[in-house]
Symmetry: C2
Subunit: 133 residues, 2 copies
DNA sequence: CGTTACGTTTACGTTAACGTCATGTGTGCT
DNA sequence: AGCACACATGACGTTAACGTAAACGTAACG
């Protein structure tokens, strides 16, 4: 049975990060590993959070932004005003992400065009080289 | 007729960047403004490049990555090997961007789910508050 | 019992991408 | 001529997100 608690090394291997990074995230209150003596033990919750952190980073969100968003996934027993604030924040991020996706789609198509153009140029160059021989 | 050459200030106003940023991009060889005496004059080409730079940044690419990609849009008269190298680089970036888009789509859907869940919680809390009154 | 492996804290170093400040120069207006 | 003003060039400062090194604890292994 796969242990639900991971040591720092197992965590690093599993998610391809360094120990320094995990300690840094803990210091920034993004993760809250438990302790066995001095050792850190990363729970399922920490693992889920780390996945979200890494994903957020790939989308260009700062750690501070991510920290606030993480609350959304672990609401549990919040006050009403806090919950409303979190929802509002989420709305903004959602809009951000949708805009980013749309713009990304456009950029992808443009890049594809440029590449087919480049491919044509290459084909021409090869023809010319073939003639030289 | 809208002048095709922009001064640094016009450029800043048009694209919402600071002079420092434009000089920095020039130092990093991302832009190549001409000179009238000492003054910089940003050509159409520089403006197009700046748009691509800003877009690249929004997608989380580093300036160095962007610099290399910009070549793709200004191939003109490259050598064959250089052109091939550029195409290869573009393929990787394209794959990157597509993966990013797909992952982004998934994250968007997940976030939406969390938000409807949060909305339900909010509705419950409001019911309870209404009863208290 | 020494040492090897893994973990900890503390502190200083590093890189990217600019911001900020001091100082100098050319340009047009009055 | 005098002056403001936009722009130029260094040079140093700043922030985020870690890297790296020093100095120490502890558990297992031969």
């Amino acid at each position: 049975m796969t242990e639900t608690q991971l040591t720092i090394r197992e965590m690093c291997d599993a998610y391809d990060v360094t120990p320094r990074t995990l300690r840094f995230y803990e210091a920034k209150e993004l993760l809250f590993p438990e302790r066995r003596g001095q050792q850190r033990l990363f729970t399922k919750r920490d693992q889920a959070r780390l996945k979200l952190i890494l994903r957020g980073k790939r989308f260009g969100f700062s750690l501070e932004e991510i920290r606030q968003l993480l609350d959304l996934y672990y609401v549990g027993d919040q006050q009403r005003t806090q919950l409303e604030r979190t929802q509002e924040l989420a709305r903004k991020h959602l809009a951000d992400m949708q805009a980013q996706r749309d713009e990304l789609q456009i950029a992808i198509e443009e890049l594809k065009e440029q590449m087919t153009w480049g491919a044509k140029r290459l084909a021409e160059l090869e023809k010319i080289e073939a003639q030289k021989i």
